[in-house]
């Protein structure tokens, strides 16, 4: 079981992901609605894994990934992208993303990736 922080500006997306994670025995310890919120919740909650949407207002997922990896160089951050954001995926790899999840969410894919990263 992993302690997970979900970061996504969409409440729909957060709910779908949260349900899948809980149904598969993981613990969702917090949710953040943008990159800035994510950095602050990461410091506070110290999750095993953070799932991070890329396209968000205020501070996007790439910037938040960079800041989180500066705070903890071993932080495990899984980037969540809508399909088709390949250039951003390359940037995310440079900043140390552990893995990628693509929308639309598929439970099997999510659990496989979470288990691989954990």
């Amino acid at each position: 079981m992993a302690k997970i922080l979900i970061v996504d500006d969409s409440i729909t997306s957060r709910k779908i992901l949260k349900n899948i994670l809980i149904e598969n025995g993981h613990e969702v310890i917090g949710e953040a609605i943008n990159g800035k919120d994510a950095v602050s919740k990461f410091k506070e909650l110290q999750p095993d894994i953070t799932t991070m949407d890329i396209t968000m207002p205020v501070m996007d997922g790439l910037e938040a990934l960079r800041e989180i990896r500066e705070i903890d160089k071993d932080a495990k951050v899984i980037m969540v992208t809508a399909a088709g954001q390949k250039s951003k995926m390359v940037d995310a790899l440079k900043y140390g993303a552990a893995e990628f999840l693509t929308k639309p969410f598929e439970a099997e894919q999510i659990i496989e990736i979470i288990n691989r990263v954990h």
Binding site: T12, T55, T81, A83, G84, Q85
Partner: protein
């Protein structure tokens, strides 16, 4: 899907009542009978089908066997007709007959009038009858309009994630579009696209609820978020499709708005989509500035 089109037409022409149409759509006849299919496929005349039905009442044989015996159909034709028993269009016609609303002759006449009134070619009518969305989309959306494949993908995704029984109407273009509610997303890059879903709240709820798997009563912030996220997913799938053609687009965060007007120097393509009887308009603008005021 054809049932929706033909049903609406029969309503307009006062050939059927609202309650009858609702009953047909709810009834879900499991499959169409061979006689009905053979007439619809023009392999038998209504008179021949009637004759075979009468014979079947007297003999302990299957309709197809009697048709072959009488020399009306070949065994191969019977086999082909059997493959069509689950076709939604034929099931709709079967329900009209079973509920004594119309007989086969009357249905055939109405379909001819429907075809004429809607200006449909035989090919387009067959596309509607097929129930195959890939064949239906080109009937309503000119494949030459820019980014028609983006429009087609949103429609396919509505069928995939929202509701598989939708009805399209012919697209049109405007320079100004006033909406009660809209969820939209701008895509920027090799091309700039504006993609939106607009309509009355009760229409957008028909998208919000199934996508979020949550029953929304009003179009609140969460319901809008669900429609926005649907657009985000659909546009993401499109962006990943066109990247193979070396077209790169980035998605900006989706947004929503109420009671305003969208203006553009270019054409705003409006594609009406009926879901659960309520109309949502898919709005697309390509490579032109869009202003919401």
């Amino acid at each position: 899907m054809f049932g929706l089109y033909f049903g609406e037409y029969l309503l307009e022409k006062n050939k059927i009542s609202h309650s009858q149409l609702e009953a047909i759509m709810k009834e879900h006849t499991s499959r169409a009978k061979l006689g009905v299919i053979a007439v619809a496929e023009k392999l038998l005349t209504p008179k021949q089908a009637e004759e075979l039905n009468e014979l079947q009442k007297k003999k302990d044989s299957r309709f197809g066997d009697i048709a072959i015996e009488k020399g009306y159909l070949l065994a191969e034709e019977v086999n082909y007709l059997l493959t069509l028993q689950g076709n939604p269009y034929l099931k709709f016609i079967q329900s009209l007959i079973d509920m004594n609303i119309m007989n086969l002759n009357e249905i055939e006449e109405c379909i001819e009038e429907f075809k004429k009134d809607y200006g449909l070619t035989d090919l387009e009518l067959n596309a509607l009858k097929s129930g195959d969305i890939d064949q239906i989309i080109p009937v309503f959306i000119d494949s030459n309009i820019p980014f028609a494949d983006c429009i087609a993908l949103v429609i396919r995704n509505i069928i995939r994630f929202i509701n598989n029984n939708i009805m399209l109407k012919k697209y049109y273009t405007v320079k100004k579009y006033t909406f009660p509610s809209v969820a939209y997303q701008q895509l920027v890059g090799s091309h700039d696209l504006f993609v939106g879903l607009a309509g009355e709240d009760e229409a957008l709820i028909n998208i919000a609820s199934p996508f979020a798997k949550e029953e929304f009563k009003v179009m609140n912030e969460e319901a809008f978020d669900s429609v926005c996220e649907f657009l985000n997913v659909s546009n993401g799938l499109y962006a990943s499709k066109i990247i193979t053609d070396d077209i790169h687009i980035d998605m900006t965060p989706p947004q929503f708005d109420k009671n305003k007007t969208i203006k553009s120097d270019g054409d705003i393509y409006v594609i009406p989509i009926i879901i659960n009887g309520k109309q949502t308009d898919l709005l697309v603008v390509v490579d032109k500035k869009v202003e919401i005021c």
